[in-house]
């Protein structure tokens, strides 16, 4: 593996990114054909955050956060740091100092397939993080990795510049070149769901709204009293 840091990456349109943040993780995931979700062990450190941004990708090694410092300098306002690991690890690779640096650069949040620490401070700063663990376990700065190369994070391939959408439901990746199309489909979906929501709220049965009764019977479903 060559250790490289790519300085310049293409990013999606800022308006599209913000539009995707508004639609939310579940809607975007559905709109792009049920793809792009990180595994559900990735949890937010506090509830309520809902963001989207361009992925600055990091490949790091267990117990070593050197590459997060390298990546930080390459971030632009609106980016999200997204860290994949070369092997399973829960060390706390990111804390309030790195968050201070991230905030100063306009970074919107962190998605890391490892641990995070200083979560009380990060919560007070309202700097959102999705991680596989909370752990105070410290790290060294000894083994180089990569920045802005394709990485696997929590089971999902992420390319630098892909759009990261993250909220209480988890994290979804939208490939950069599909972002505009995903937003369009997401907006359509949001509009349709609003209509369905009103019918359901009025007490109409989902089986009727979705025309499921015939299919159920065809599948052999029997009602008994």
């Amino acid at each position: 593996m060559k250790n490289i840091a790519v300085r310049k990456i293409a990013r999606a349109d800022a308006g599209v990114i913000d539009g995707l943040a508004n639609c939310g993780v579940a809607t975007v995931h559905e709109a792009q054909g049920r793809t792009g979700l990180l595994k559900p062990y990735m949890r937010p450190i506090y509830p309520g955050a809902s963001i989207a941004g361009s992925a600055v990708t990091v490949l790091a090694h267990p117990g070593d956060n050197w590459m997060l410092h390298v990546a930080m300098e390459l971030c632009e306002p609106g980016d999200i740091l997204l860290v994949g690991l070369s092997a399973d690890n829960t060390n706390g690779m990111f804390g309030d100092l790195l968050a201070t640096s991230a905030r100063a650069r306009g970074v919107r949040g962190l998605v890391i397939d490892a641990g995070v620490r200083d979560v009380a401070d990060l919560t007070a700063m309202q700097f959102p993080v999705w991680s596989r663990a909370v752990s105070a376990e410290g790290t060294v700065k000894a083994t180089p990795g990569c920045v802005n190369v394709p990485v696997v994070c929590a089971g999902c391939l992420v390319n630098p510049g892909d759009v990261v959408v993250a909220g209480d439901d988890g994290v979804c990746i939208v490939p950069r070149e599909m972002a505009a199309r995903a937003l369009e489909k997401s907006n359509t979906r949001v509009a349709q769901e609003e209509i369905t929501r009103q019918r359901l709220a009025a007490g109409e049965a989902g089986l009727d709204i979705y025309n499921m009764r015939e299919k159920l019977a065809a599948a052999g479903m029997e009602y008994v009293d």
Copy 2:
């Protein structure tokens, strides 16, 4: 396996159900002889909810939420949807649309041995859910299962109409025909505990209140300085 949906189920007395909600999960579990708990991986999506209701049971397949739509129509006010899976799964089978439908029908909450999504919306609606995961991963509607048959959920057998008691400590099942007796014993327990609580708050030692000193010595416990 035949795919059936049972329309009519027997339910416990509404007053008894509300009484059990007041006693809480731990007390009810103890009162009925330390039985009926779902495994502790079942966690609430937000803290503070405390409910009880009659189980409308669902047997669903991984990645398929068809049966939840079937079950919804069979729910009555005061019911709790309780979903067992035919194999381990974390897909997000329930979200804000189904919750809207559930609320319209007076369903009090959801207990599901799989994933849930739209948790920010569900929290805003204060619609409580206990699940094994939060995941935006979508589902299909392709394979029929069953509604209102006995199911295993998080390691516990649940019959339709059993009383589900759920709170921050997890979920406990009270067999329908034992509900009144369980409430009676729970109330007794609550009263006794109140007395003990006051003695403990006053600084009295548990070893004295519970008469444990002699038993400890008999078991070979030695005190050293």
Copy 3:
């Protein structure tokens, strides 16, 4: 194994203990050379608690909380109950009655490598607990264990009287005889970090502050456009 309860243990200086609480888990862990952390599966039952105290150690058996009652009587104000198990277990060994007793004796919190219950009550009381699970599953009082002997808790050896520092990042153990030195190093670290924090907040790059550019190049890191 002999079943003993040691009545008198040495404790660290109260001012040192409170100083360590102020520094927090991550700082103390770093200051004492990246040691002493319990595994990250140990989580607080509510966010925001940050405490330190002297460990009253308990060795308990799965499903049996007898020794917690024995230990309670041996606690002094400022202590923290720390419970190791002889085998993996998630039963809810501690609830609101034991917490009432603990509060009456000035115990600051509980760290338990098993389950806890009545977490809504404990949260209302603001009695902090770090545990591996929340579970209403009850316990018996049948098999004696030990109090105030060295125990392994969540992968870490703890001696009675060691200082327990616990917060949102997890739990860190400071050996009693090293507590003063650990506080000194922690305070130095806090002061240094404050300076770094201000430089980072002003937008200076971590790579410059930590003089990493030369080391990166030496390690073979290449920048590409």
Copy 4:
């Protein structure tokens, strides 16, 4: 919970049971409509065993193997001990002494949702066990449970007298009253699979044998070069 041991249980026909053993776990599971499997964490202690027998069910508590001794006496030749636990546990509840007793009574094997020990001896005796763990951790005989009541074992409800089919693929439960029908369907399936196997071995494509090409196209599958 009342602590009872039921002495007399109904069993399936011996010839049917042996027929199910010949068909194997996967075939029987499919033949009865894809139901009845224990979770895949249940693994055999050595490869190659393939048995079926009538379930003598046990409900035991963590760290306590008392009920296994009670159940042993109620076993008849051809039975399989099947043990569910009241909470997750990995203690080694069964070893070479209990296996010696089991062998003397004609018991064919053990299925236990906990640990087992003396596995070198059990392998030498060729006494097959399916368990969730191998552990030397010992047990007490202090808390009564039940024998020959319905139990949940590894996520599956088992009634006393149900047929247990176990092999390298895991464990499948056939409800006693459905055993003859399940054997019939299993035998049909075995015969059909033999024909398919020969066609596949001759190089014919599964897509042709199963007539899948049209359905694939209808589902939107596209072939690209």
Copy 5:
């Protein structure tokens, strides 16, 4: 997600592939810079198999093995089926019928991030499989996925035609275009290790062979008696 099956893929040189099989997983992983390993939960169904082949990649959905039938037809002698899943799943997606088909087409083995069944038969056939679980749980053929697109399998990105090297130590992926270079480096490594092995077998200390004594002292290591 579009559902496509790519018929023609580029493969590495057959001699290179067989050379990599001879070097083994650990050597190849080291030789290509410590990359390419699947997570260690991927285990062989029997010990002793050691193979390499070209990846025919499959993206499948939980509980659905339809795409394995599609992929089978596109395999050539020397290939290895490699299956990634859209969400965590342990269903037994592959058994003796599919293995019979695979054998007839010269497929060397299967790597699947889900379950496998009929493992006794597969062992008798000596058809090697690396999987995350053994489970008899059956599957449907309802939702299309993809064949021969890039997939993530057990945390690793795999492109169609990449070389899969698998043995008792797990599974390693060599990007197709790097296969020749990886073999060259692997062979060098094997030769060097043979020399080291002989020195170690003769009792020489690793600290001397690897010249570690000075570095240890520089790192602050102290020897005490």
Copy 6:
């Protein structure tokens, strides 16, 4: 943490150690009062090995096997390398080269709370290893740890020179100064068990041999027909 390697450690009597190996893990664990077991996730890489030896303890960091080289030189014939980690890790820290070195020095085996690789070679050499994972993932030699200090390994405290007993049932630690007494009690237990085994083999009920009938009745056990 100071980084030290202690050259000279006290060891138990060689005859006692071999005697403990003969008794086996489960018997020794019981004989010393049900203590000393490592967690059951520690599994042997091949079945059938049964050894005992003096612990040369290692504290290593995730992804770093430097200390294993340091420890190797301090081993004497009859020793067992026992490695604890500062944080959870599954990297393959030990392979056939280290095993060659270990064999040359008379080391009897390895117990490591991390991963191991080259397991096919180690099996061919019959060099036994108990580990938490098999993984080819390589390691660096960058961060010093300790040799021959007390370590926590798989949840158990181990002092240098303690006796490690390991077999198919797992790993048990006997404190050095208690080794002779533990052997004595183990031998007594083996003799007693032989008598019980013969009675059980003759068909006598365990309930009679252990005089359990009265206690069962006292505990409220009821027999039903």
